[in-house]
């Protein structure tokens, strides 16, 4: 019963994601009465925080590289890629920092639940912006410019308009709804990436596609973890997401080697 109350409080205030983290932390310590603040750095928080911060660093690196080459080439697609990874990187660093603060209860942050909720919500919103940017960028790359951008913006507008006023009132379901939006956007990105890889047949596009596929799987698993309320599955999803960013890091490393660049193209 106490567990159910704790779960309700956690999910109401922090969203499912945080709720899972806290409830699992509590289950492992078998102390449901004082679930906040957490007295000791929790392994789940620390693990997720490290993965988020590392993933965020990779995302910012991709963003910087796209920005750098955009100055040379002036491609609109690179602008979208750079912007998207910047949003994602900032979001992941924000989430990682927040989890670190929660793990060590720096400045008794766990007592300021509004701050925790707003930070967590901001991360979710940044993710939507990031993946929308990728979807727009990819549509411009895959289709003709005008048609692609118009279709994508129109589709997003149609989806967003009727639900935006309810979005922030969803409380517990904000996380799940955001995950669904992210999954839809990522599915679009993966599909476009698949088409583009079919066109270029390069190992670089395969690495980027693998990265996005892994991130999509991670978000599906995250949604699943929220449904079944499993902290273990949630952490597993974070590892899958990290693998996706590792694939992007590998792409960056490989694309930086001039001698292998021409060999890598099939």
């Amino acid at each position: 019963m106490l567990l159910e109350i704790d779960w309700y409080i956690c999910t109401s205030i922090l969203g499912d994601r945080m709720g899972i983290m806290i409830i699992v932390a509590e289950l492992t310590k078998l102390n449901t009465l004082s679930f906040l603040p957490l007295p000791m750095p929790d392994l789940l928080f620390v693990t997720t925080a490290i993965l988020d911060i590392l993933s965020g660093a990779v995302a910012l690196l991709v963003s910087y590289t796209a920005f750098k080459y955009n100055r040379l080439i002036e491609s609109d697609v690179l602008k979208f890629v750079s912007f998207g990874f910047m949003m994602l990187g900032i979001g992941l660093l924000l989430e990682g920092s927040l989890l670190s603060l929660l793990a060590f209860n720096v400045g008794r942050i766990t007592e300021d639940l509004r701050l925790v909720y707003i930070s967590s919500l901001l991360y979710l919103v940044l993710q939507v912006f990031a993946y929308s940017s990728f979807a727009l960028g990819y549509s411009r790359g895959a289709y003709s410019r005008r048609e692609g951008i118009t279709t994508a913006v129109f589709a997003l507008f149609l989806i967003a308009r009727p639900v935006r006023q309810y979005y922030f009132l969803l409380g517990t379901y904000v996380n799940d709804i955001t995950q669904l939006i992210v999954i839809v956007l990522l599915s679009f990105v993966v599909f476009q990436g698949f088409l583009m890889h079919g066109r270029t047949k390069s190992k670089f596009s395969l690495l980027v596609l693998a990265g996005f596929v892994l991130i999509l799987i991670a978000h599906l698993v995250m949604l699943g973890s929220s449904i079944v309320m499993s902290g273990f599955i949630f952490v597993l999803a974070n590892f899958v997401q990290f693998a996706g960013f590792l694939s992007l890091l590998l792409f960056l490393i490989r694309s930086g080697h001039i001698d292998t660049a021409t060999e890598d193209k099939k």
């Binding site: 080439i73 990819y138 088409l195 390069s202 596009s205 792409f251 930086g256």
Partner: protein, 94 residues
Amino acid sequence: MTQPQKTRSRIKIYFDILSSVEEEGNAKLTRVLYKANLSYDRLVKYLDELIARGLLQEIHAEENRYYVITDMGKEFIREVKKAESFLSGFGLSL
């Protein structure tokens, strides 16, 4: 899905000219013309731009004109190759 034939971007044309000059060493105008696949007028225009940007050097020897790539030009080629690899990751090309 097929994509219509794209016209070469300015960067790509610079890259093609510089690559052909680098490959030749001391490159004659006719060789560059052939390898870069450009009309004479356009090639002269681009060569002037590349010289003005310090990526190419024009050498007059007897009655012949040669083009030599500068260090900055070699650096430009390296950067464009990296950019090409990066772009191909997102299904794009120069």
